[in-house]
Point group: none
Chain length 210, copies 4
DNA sequence: AATGAATGAGAATTCATTCAT
DNA sequence: AATGAATGAATTCTCATTCAT
């Protein structure tokens, strides 16, 4: 009741033999690849094969398939969070925000990343904590962008995250080539800008674009 | 992209006994419900049960599960196409366009519609024809909106469809309540408008909004 | 609320195609054999093989292994109940009672019957109804034996059933040959008799014995 | 019956480091608990956990699960043997005999002792030696009881052991509460007594009872 | 000796699909 | 045409056992 965040069953055990840690990492990497390619209904066997371990090893590290999916998503969210934080460091905040969104969508499309999970097993995945961290990063970036006048005052973090996930999932659909991606995001970004900053022109990369 | 038209296994046979036609419809309806509720990994057995027919009947009408999924999507796309065409008839074209998008997203969220299929069974679904019809409807609506000056000249149909599917898939994610939906779409719509029409204000429903 | 006994999930469906009924019976027979030979931890695969059906067929009829085990036990109990009822018809009730116990133990030993289940999965098997029927049969036989003066007045049905199951399970242990069985039961039967009827002698088959 | 003595894999090694001996004991204790609670199909991992050692340690001491089961049974039999021998020392031999049986059954019920093993892993357990020791103890007690006239002359040790194991296994079945236990054993004990000693009355605890 | 990670052969169960009725 | 029983490959998960640390 007094320790608010981290659930008991979460994350990798802290003390772990070197070989175990190595295998855990290999399994996670393999799983990300496999699920990225074939969606979350890909078989655990294939993950094991790709990781070069026996099936039992996968289940030792992640007792159920759900656990494995959750772990991947946590990893992904953590990586995104770190990217936000990094981008937040340098230069123009709005550029950072838009770059972050573009980059994430780009990556989602290229690696057919696991974002698609959210659709399928989403609800059951209990990722509140990790999402919260990402949200905080986005919140910061958004606030600074708004202070700089580059994003409309009335935009809320919720909306940015919603646009982000929507775009990521959309990017998995057939027909989203890089160009369509860029043009679609340009529209979204323009919707985020205050009237004064609007391009109104063909969304060719300008100082505030992409 | 270049393969022109109707594959062999497509569409319902033209000559069909009345009861067979009735069954086909019931199966499609049941399948839409079931897959909407449980995702595309729901079992064909459950579809049969919900439709009140035997499993064999389902496979008689749709020789593989993929065929069933494809048929549902074709149905859905046809319904959307019809809605676009209807909306195109009356009044302000931009209102019609935005209403169409809002309505579709709304419905996707409410019925957890099968749009999520695209993620799972992805490319395998060969829906080019049906999508093409929908695209034409959207194209018409978009062109008229642009002629009326309510949508930026440089927006292309691709982008509208991309935004539409992205928003639909996003709407399936956890946490998209109706309000978030409305606010997110308001941003997107603002991005579609030419500078002169922009709200720049809190996306409360105005003449140009939602 | 008004139909007291039979639970919903119980027993075979009433209407069944002939081939299905045939398979159901073959599966039950095979299962009884297999579990008798190897105990309840024998694999469902082996049951399927012995029955000459595919594994899926077994699970179609009995959705879980537990269901299969329960069905066997119900069958067995029903058979015993019928035997009690039959024996109750003819002649001397005490002879009938003792014969029933002897016969059941004998059969348990010979077929290594599934009685052993009670030990392992016992608790979870929900057989109250079937056991109740058997108990009623035994009750009747016991009451008549007592009225005839051949069994002590103070013996209760519970005790007879307890002695029955104990003997059946004991009969599965190593070393219970037919002779030991007979001698052990003779002691038990003597304990059931009123002093006047006691043999006190070597339990060779006499008029009241075995 | 004719194979005389100790197999190779039997019993604890004579020379053992103190900690090893301690571990061996803890494993045995844990295993008895675990198998008592969950039956012999409980996992070796759980035994290790309960004992507070690593799984490898369990297999170091008991190369196969069978070995572990056998060791537990040997322990149990040894304890019973010792109890017989102790009881044999004091007072009335028949009381001692009946007390021994009652106590053993009671304990079997309470601790769900491992006796049930016999059903599962059955014959494979090679315990002849240990059983032999127990049998000798029972033989002695029985002989003295018979000499004292409190047990029928024609009863043989086999029968007493058979009744003992049957009652123990029966006591594991659902529904054997302490009262039923007492009443059932009272019947058995009465069957063991010579006619002169019989109670014939309700098996309330009397001088010759329980 | 002890540890605990890895192994991999099963086990139960599901489900798309086929086919006899 | 419809039925629904049967099929059997695939999947998730378990666990006794081995072996590197």
């Amino acid at each position: 009741m007094t320790t608010p965040s981290t659930p008991a069953t979460d994350g990798p055990p802290q003390r772990m033999r070197a070989d175990a840690r190595r295998n855990r990492a290999r399994i996670l990497a393999a799983a990300e690849e496999v699920f990225a390619e074939k969606g979350p209904s890909a078989s655990t066997e294939e993950v094991a094969a790709r990781a070069g371990v026996a099936i039992g090893t996968v289940f030792k590290h992640f007792p159920t398939k759900q656990d494995l999916l959750r772990a991947i998503m946590k990893d992904l969210l953590a990586r995104l969070t770190q990217e936000v934080d990094t981008l937040a460091g340098d230069g123009d905040p709005a550029t950072a925000l838009f770059d972050f969104v573009s980059g994430t969508v780009e990556q989602a499309a290229r690696k057919r990343t696991v974002v698609g999970l959210l659709a399928e097993s989403g609800a059951g995945l209990q990722l509140a904590d990790s999402v919260q961290l990402l949200r905080q990063g986005v919140e910061g970036l958004l606030a600074r962008s708004q202070r700089a006048g580059a994003v409309r005052e009335d935009v809320r973090p919720d909306e940015v995250l919603a646009l982000l996930t929507a775009a990521c999932q959309g990017a998995l659909s057939a027909g989203w080539d890089r160009d369509l991606q860029r043009r679609t995001l340009a529209i979204v970004f323009d919707g985020l800008r205050p009237p004064a900053w609007r391009t109104g022109a063909d969304p060719a990369p300008g100082p505030r674009d992409l």
